[in-house]
């Protein structure tokens, strides 16, 4: 059985209240969710809270998962990203109100190891992103990691809205071409 099929059955079991199904999903997807959250919020303590909130939301909202709209992994990433963007925006408004920002102390050398497959995928995607035009990279970056809407992106980069829309789609298609989903899903 593929990971995607296992994920789907985990969702079914979660709907029936089986917490072990959540454990299974947690172990499979948390490294990716946590890395994404940390990339967006920048601070480990915030990323940990984002991860926790996202899983609670997944547990409560398993009924709302719709397989027709994408994979379980994509759904979980959407939950984690939107919690992270919310937190990032709150941080930004706090930063505007304060003069100094507290920074987490660097962690000791006892961090849990990153899975080799996750690291390899990251390297492939980073290489793939380098084949995009700078504009394409920038619109993806501002949209996905900074949470800007397309209108906000257009005014930030000084390009017409229609151009931003077409850069965005072209960028995602290019990414699909360079890192086909079947190869790693």
């Amino acid at each position: 059985m593929s990971d995607q099929d296992r994920d789907l059955f985990c969702i079914e079991r979660m709907r029936a209240g089986d917490t072990r199904a959540l454990e299974e999903l947690y172990d499979r997807h948390s490294p990716m969710l946590y890395s994404l959250a940390l990339r967006i919020v920048g601070r480990a303590s915030d990323a940990e809270e984002v991860l926790q909130e996202a899983w609670l939301q997944a547990w409560r909202g398993a009924d709302r998962f719709d397989a027709a709209r994408g994979t379980v992994a994509a759904w979980l990433l959407t939950l984690a990203r939107s919690r992270a963007i919310d937190r990032f925006r709150k941080q930004a408004s706090r930063r505007r109100a304060e003069t100094s920002v507290e920074i987490d102390p660097p962690r000791g050398g006892d961090e849990p190891p990153v899975q080799a497959a996750h690291r390899q995928l990251h390297e492939r995607v980073t290489t793939a992103l380098s084949t995009l035009t700078p504009q394409q990279r920038q619109v993806l970056e501002l949209a996905y990691f900074s949470g800007l809407s397309q209108t906000e992106i257009a005014s930030r980069v000084g390009a017409p809205l229609g151009t931003v829309k077409s850069w965005t789609r072209q960028a995602l298609l290019r990414l699909r071409e360079v890192v086909p989903q079947e190869e790693w899903a």
Partner: protein
């Protein structure tokens, strides 16, 4: 439905990225709700492309403590495991009273009242204990049942059966997870809302002909899950099939009366 345009595909990309403007979102949601197959397919693919983009975040493993926190929080919310909560009464700090005799009288009164209250609390706790025992017994039964279903996933014998639409059908999708040893099967159906006045019916195709496994009743999102406790003799089971019947299903449990729209062989 609003006619499909290439701009809709651009909006799908913006939606998948979470960057769509509100007006565009309303337009796209209406377009999707009207059932544009091209945009639905593309949206699912784009959400996977966004998943690729997410992997550009530098990989960092989450601290193990978060796992424990998440599980503890979820367990405390799991409906079946949620204990009956006692009422908590906030106690206000009392003001000191300077007059000693007054204090002694008050203490005696408090003691008398406390005794009655404690006796009532004891009765209440006993009743709750009985109730909890009943709940525990039910939970154990539920847990045993859940374990039997979970065992299906780990069984080395379990087979995944894909049911594909026949050319006459639209886009519904079905999958069956079937364990011949346990004779159990779980079938998951997507985009499975039956047209008005009709019902989808599930069949086991056996050596001696079809046998109805019941109607497939999808929820509002078109999704349905059917658990079959006993699919019959594994040596005789050849396939799962779905027919589109008049409302209420075929009147003959051994023969579909409507067209068979999906079929999936269980293989050997």
């Amino acid at each position: 439905m609003s006619a499909h345009r290439d701009e809709h595909l651009e909006l799908c990309a913006a939606l998948a990225l979470g960057a769509i403007d509100e007006r565009d979102r309303r337009e796209l949601e209406a377009h999707l709700a009207a059932g544009c197959p091209e945009c639905s397919r593309e949206l699912a693919r784009l959400s996977d492309d966004v998943r690729t983009l997410a992997a550009s975040a530098p990989p960092v493993a989450p601290p193990p403590a978060v796992r424990a926190r998440v599980l503890a929080a979820v367990r405390s919310r799991a409906p079946a495991e949620r204990p009956a909560r006692g009422r908590v009464v906030a106690l206000e700090p009392r003001r000191r009273i300077a007059i000693a005799t007054w204090a002694w009288a008050a203490a005696a009164a408090v003691l008398a009242v406390s005794t009655v209250v404690l006796w009532r609390v004891g009765e209440d706790l006993r009743a709750r204990l009985d109730e909890s025992r009943g709940q525990m017994a039910k939970l154990q039964t539920d847990l045993d049942e859940a374990r039997r279903w979970a065992a299906l996933l780990d069984s080395p014998e379990a087979r995944l059966v894909e049911l594909l639409p026949t050319p006459a059908a639209g886009l519904p999708r079905a999958r069956a997870l079937y364990d011949p040893a346990a004779r159990r099967a779980v079938l998951v159906f997507d985009s499975f809302a039956a047209p008005p006045g009709s019902d989808y019916e599930l069949w086991a195709i056996r050596g001696d002909g079809p046998a109805s496994l019941g109607l497939i009743r999808a929820d509002a999102s078109g999704r349905a899950v059917v658990r079959v406790h006993d699919v019959g003799d594994p040596a005789s089971l050849q396939a799962f099939a779905v027919s589109l019947e008049r409302a209420g299903g075929s009147t003959n449990p051994r023969q579909p009366q409507g067209p068979v729209v999906m079929v999936g062989g269980v293989g050997g």
